[in-house]
């Protein structure tokens, strides 16, 4: 498989009056063609900042300090706004958080998608674009006749489908879906996730799913990166992450989710709260909440270590932990 997106040691900080906010701190990962990856973390952990850095849709006070974002072999970091405009939509497109509200209420939904196509591909005629929207509608499970309706005539799930159609409009190689189903009801969420998965496989696209909900990610992503306080703390294929989590935060996150399957288990709580990323400390950021903390953790940031093939963990005590988990499980 060919790598499509390679992020290397990306550091993106926000300058604020109170100091530097280290929103993404030394992030690296590779996404292959046709692969789907999940970025999991709680609010404020920097997962949206990663996606905004890839798209370079950053506010004025944000700075990419160092690192590279290779998309299809070229580094996007030095790209100008004009160059980025050619990449956006056509190369990488994005489904934003609460995207249903991002449709303009006074334009017909179909026309908004046509506009996106015509802007990015000037030699496409209006009729051709309209035809393409029709086939996109079929692809995402919408009736093409609804193209001429306004957003308020759509239900929440239909709007989300239209947004997915729009993100596919210019045949991008990569789609970043930032909390694509968070505002939807479970049944609608289920159908949308199925649809996204089907389209991704059919078109052999790469996807990055961003969510706080580890269960949603488990369903759609083949590879998972867990983020905590601006850093990726653990990364592996999804089965490994779920079967053999090694970072204490990942373990805590998994056992703190109430489950509907199997026997009712006691929920495990992670004490404390996520840290403020303002002037983040130079030690393990999970240390204050970690049950396995030692002196070492307070002295330096744990480096990434491969605990097994393609399973990266930034923790000084992943091995100890795994024993601990198996002890708990056997009780």
């Amino acid at each position: 498989m060919k790598p499509l997106l390679e992020i290397k040691n990306l550091k993106m900080y926000y300058d604020t009056q109170a100091g530097q906010v280290k929103a993404t701190d030394d992030i690296s990962f590779t996404l292959n063609e046709g692969e789907s990856m999940g970025l999991v973390g709680e609010s404020g952990c920097g997962k949206t900042s990663v996606s905004m850095s890839i798209m370079k849709l950053l506010p004025e006070n944000a700075r990419i300090l160092s690192g590279h974002i290779y998309f299809d072999g070229t580094d996007l970091v030095p790209f100008s706004e004009e160059q980025m405009n050619r990449i956006r939509w056509a190369g990488i497109s994005m489904i934003f958080q609460a995207a249903m509200n991002s449709l303009n209420p006074v334009y017909r939904v179909g026309d908004q998608i046509i506009e996106a196509i015509v802007t990015h591909e000037p030699n496409v005629t209006f009729e051709e674009a309209r035809e393409r929207v029709g086939s996109l509608y079929k692809l995402v499970g919408l009736d093409p006749e609804r193209m001429d309706n306004y957003p308020h005539e759509y239900s929440g799930g239909m709007k989300q489908r239209a947004i997915i159609a729009m993100s596919l409009a210019c045949n991008p190689k990569l789609i970043i879906a930032d909390e694509p189903t968070t505002a939807l009801d479970v049944i609608v969420q289920d159908t949308i996730l199925r649809e996204l998965e089907k389209i991704q496989k059919k078109l052999n696209m790469s996807m990055i799913y961003i969510s706080h909900d580890i269960a949603v990610i488990a369903e759609v992503a083949s590879k998972i990166a867990i983020m905590y306080a601006g850093k990726i703390v653990e990364m592996a294929d999804s089965v490994t992450i779920f079967k053999r989590p090694a970072h204490p935060y990942t373990v805590g996150l998994m056992s703190s989710f109430p489950s509907i399957r199997g026997e009712k288990k006691d929920l495990v709580t992670i004490p404390g709260e996520p840290p403020n990323l303002l002037n983040a400390p130079d030690h393990c950021r999970f240390a204050p909440r970690c049950p396995f903390v030692t002196d070492e953790c307070w002295k330096q940031v744990p480096p990434y270590a491969e605990v097994e093939t393609a399973h990266l963990v930034a923790c000084f005590h992943p091995q100890n932990l795994r024993k601990q988990v198996s002890v708990n499980a056997s009780k």
């Binding site: 709680e42 609010s43 239900s155 929440g156 799930g157 239909m158 009801d185 479970v186 049944i187 609608v188 969420q189 289920d190 159908t191 996730l193 199925r194 706080h212 909900d213 580890i214 269960a215 949603v216 488990a218 369903e219 992503a221 999804s238 089965v239 779920f242 805590g252 996150l253 998994m254 703190s256 989710f257 109430p258 489950s259 509907i260 399957r261 009712k264 929920l267 495990v268 709580t269 992670i270 004490p271 709260e273 996520p274």
Partner: protein, 331 residues
């Protein structure tokens, strides 16, 4: 003591809440939205009932009507063996409202930003003219300590914006419980919180319910959360309760096609688990002047002729399990 022998705290019989649809300034509305339609349940002392459903199904309206924030259209509410359907005298209102409370969903909006934590938590006591200032202070400190705001005196004079989301929800819970209510309606109290914080707050509420022997109506869209919090679950669809059972019974042995769909739509945090896909179509509608027929008819994969002819009643199928569906009616 077995739940069935305990005293009934609140009993709801045939509760209706209809909202008139606005037509124009001059005409009287002839159309009504049946937000809550013939709802029956009772909650015993120390018991938690969870009302589960998608957005727009009337679960919040039910909660608010129960606390008399809305005037019920028909039906009766009995609280501690007193009819509280219409609270006509100030004395009755005081009696009722000093014994009941509500916890809201959004801790960012439910706390007045211009009041200190002490003012917020002591407000119920001010309204009820309860105790001396000294006594109020003691009670506020007590409850703050109890909900995990420590040390409480460090927080008394702070403002909501200085607190994190989890701390705010703890303060909101403290405000609701400071008067030691006998019945509390909690409307999605954890849905705005982050995963690791959510479990903390859920555990805190469970401890407090046990400790204070309160009766709870826990409103949520998340069946997994309901399973952990509640003794019994009622599933609501377009203003009607379609299924009711003990929480484990309902999760393990769902009968109504809607409940089955809801359960199978919940994502499973296990990448190797393949769910059977949900087989119901479309989204939730609006119950405006509903016809006397099953409201789930359009989306139901098992729809029969009888479903269009009359409204299914809740029938007991044994094991304290009730369902409103013709599939289970003996003919």
């Amino acid at each position: 003591m077995p739940v069935n022998d305990r005293e009934t705290v609140i009993k709801v019989e045939n509760l209706d809440k209809f909202f008139p649809m606005k037509k124009s300034v001059f005409s009287v509305s002839k159309h009504f939205l049946h937000a809550v339609d013939k709802v029956n349940f009772d909650i015993k002392r120390g018991q938690v009932l969870s009302l589960v459903g998608e957005s727009g199904c009337g679960k919040t309206t039910t909660g608010k009507t129960l606390l008399k924030l809305y005037e019920p259209t028909n039906g009766s509410i009995t609280f501690l063996n007193r009819d509280v359907t219409h609270l006509n005298s100030a004395e009755d209102r005081k009696w009722f409202h000093s014994r009941t409370q509500m916890i809201f969903q959004d801790p960012f909006e439910s706390l007045n930003p211009r009041k200190t934590i002490f003012d917020i938590v002591s407000e119920p006591m001010n309204i009820q003219n309860f105790g001396s200032l000294r006594k109020r202070e003691v009670m506020v400190m007590d409850i703050l300590k109890r909900v995990g705001i420590s040390p409480p005196d460090a927080f008394l004079w702070r403002y909501p914006h200085e607190l994190s989301g989890g701390q705010r929800q703890r303060v909101a819970i403290a405000r609701s419980l400071v008067m030691k209510p006998e019945f509390v309606v909690a409307d999605e109290p954890t849905s705005m919180l982050d995963v690791s914080i959510r479990t903390q707050v859920m555990k805190l509420m469970m401890d407090l319910i046990k400790e204070m022997n309160m009766s709870f109506l826990y409103i949520t869209h998340d069946l997994a959360v309901a399973r952990y919090m509640a003794d019994e679950i009622s599933v609501m669809y377009l203003g009607k309760i379609v299924e009711h059972a003990g929480s484990e019974e309902l999760i393990k042995n769902p009968l109504h096609p809607y409940t089955k769909a809801l359960i199978s739509a919940v994502p499973v945090p296990d990448p190797e688990f393949r769910r059977t896909s949900v087989n119901i179509k479309g989204g939730i509608g609006k119950p405006i002047d509903p016809l006397p027929r099953c409201r789930f008819y359009e989306r139901c994969p098992f729809a029969m002729e009888i479903c269009t002819q009359k409204d299914p009643e809740l029938i007991d199928v044994g094991n304290d399990h009730q369902v409103a569906c013709f599939l289970y009616e003996k003919r």
